[in-house]
Homo-oligomer: 200 residues x 3
């Protein structure tokens, strides 16, 4: 990883990139804002209007579509897809921080900041909202418009508000058929102890 | 339709309009971004922060409220209302396109791009998410916050996640009463073979 | 309250603040747009990409997170938290205003504009959608991703689409336990005639 100045990072003239740790080949599009102390890996695509706060960490080859908001405390592993308008959170019971009754709560970051993780190869569909304290498993898929309130296991496909399991997602993203085969790429899986594993 | 240069299109100084096919009288507001090869009709209003990708097509007199995202593959007919923060999609099972396991899938547009259509006079409420492959019928109304997973017939009023029918919408947008009359404008309808038609 | 010119208001160089009534100590971040005739109190924080329309009124110490949209007709009292991507509405049955069939409806503001109020100390979670004509009570909490279709009483905690009560919120925001005590700050409440009141 290089600093932005030395690298091949593309920052659209109408974007603001204040982070020094942005990997080579990453592109930041119009009206996006990447704050100082955000960490973004190589070959990522940060869509227009997206917001990445200091303290957020993104791996390599991550796709962040337009208007996504990623806060301090959120970790995104390699090869993740974050759909348009997806919103993360980092405070379970937020109040306005300048409200007199909550001065004590917001005096310490550990009183309110709760982390979230999205594991390698997962996808989060358009407009989904991810409650903090959850983990989205490897190659899991969150349906568009879902509200994720609990951890999603690897390869699980969830949808709804609150999000519930509606099936399994292939490595390639496609919904597996009932025999746990992929109608798109032909991969096959078997179900171990509540975990999906490749059949080969 | 004229090119932007010749027409009476208004583009806010803080907006970016790269499309050459934008109809007369259309206004594009601050921080909106209309990409090259998007087609936008006459007398449209493109709200602040909205994003219209190349390949998207909008008719005349369309209202696109702030922060709406319209992608390649989406067609919006005349007189449609797209509420604030509405999100379209064009990939049923998205993954990050640079993830090594999905290189083949994303090498051809037809492998993943699925179109969507919104028909004349329809409305989509604030924050709704529209899954690709669906059609929103003429004068149909999608309630605020709905997640549309299936085609919505003409004049149908749908709401919820997933969106389900909760009644009928008048041409003027108002919910029809049980006798299929409109309490706002007085229009009356009759129900044909699962299609609403004017009573006159 | 002072005019922006005379006050200590901070407006990010990439923001647009056209309102003259913005209170001291308020900050407006990148790509936010505060329109003329919006009223914003003291010590507010208007997050990046937020949009506040003329006619909207915000009290003091309000937190408006990124990409929130607040329209004409919406009143936000002191110490309210509006989470990222929250969307208000002000038209129950919207149509595109230039659609020929609705010219009469949109010729008068009172034909369509419906007000909304958020009372002191309330919180609205990330990505929630608030239908117009509702009131969010004092210290009420709306869960992330909720779609609020009805008025929320003081201290009520609601979630889902449509939003339903799932418990009670303390003044500090934390969910109360079954005995109506707060596990975070120790405040205790008693239930009067469907209204929560402090126990002391």
């Amino acid at each position: 990883m290089n600093t932005v100045e030395e690298s091949t990072v593309f920052v659209h003239p109408a974007a603001i990139c204040e982070a020094s740790e942005v990997g080579e080949g990453t592109r930041v599009w119009a009206f996006a804002h990447v704050l100082a102390r955000a960490v973004v890996g190589r070959d990522c695509n940060i869509g227009g209007g997206a917001f990445i706060e200091g303290g957020a960490r993104l791996g390599d080859r991550v796709t962040v579509k337009n208007q996504v908001m990623i806060w301090d405390g959120v970790t995104i592993e390699d090869d993740v897809f974050i759909g348009p308008g997806v919103i993360f959170t980092n405070d379970r019971y937020p109040r306005s921080q300048r409200m007199p009754e909550v001065t004590a709560k917001y005096s310490r970051r550990r009183n309110w900041l709760v982390p979230t993780r999205v594991c390698r190869g997962a996808s989060i569909g358009a407009g989904a909202v991810i409650l903090c304290g959850t983990t989205i498993g490897r190659c899991a898929s969150v349906g568009a418009g879902a509200v994720v309130t609990r951890t999603v296991p690897d390869h699980r496909l969830v949808a709804g508000n609150p999000a519930r399991s509606i099936g399994w997602a292939c490595t390639c993203g496609t919904r597996l058929d009932e025999d746990l085969g992929c109608p798109q790429c032909g991969r096959c899986f078997i179900l171990g102890e509540d975990a999906l594993v490749p059949a080969d």
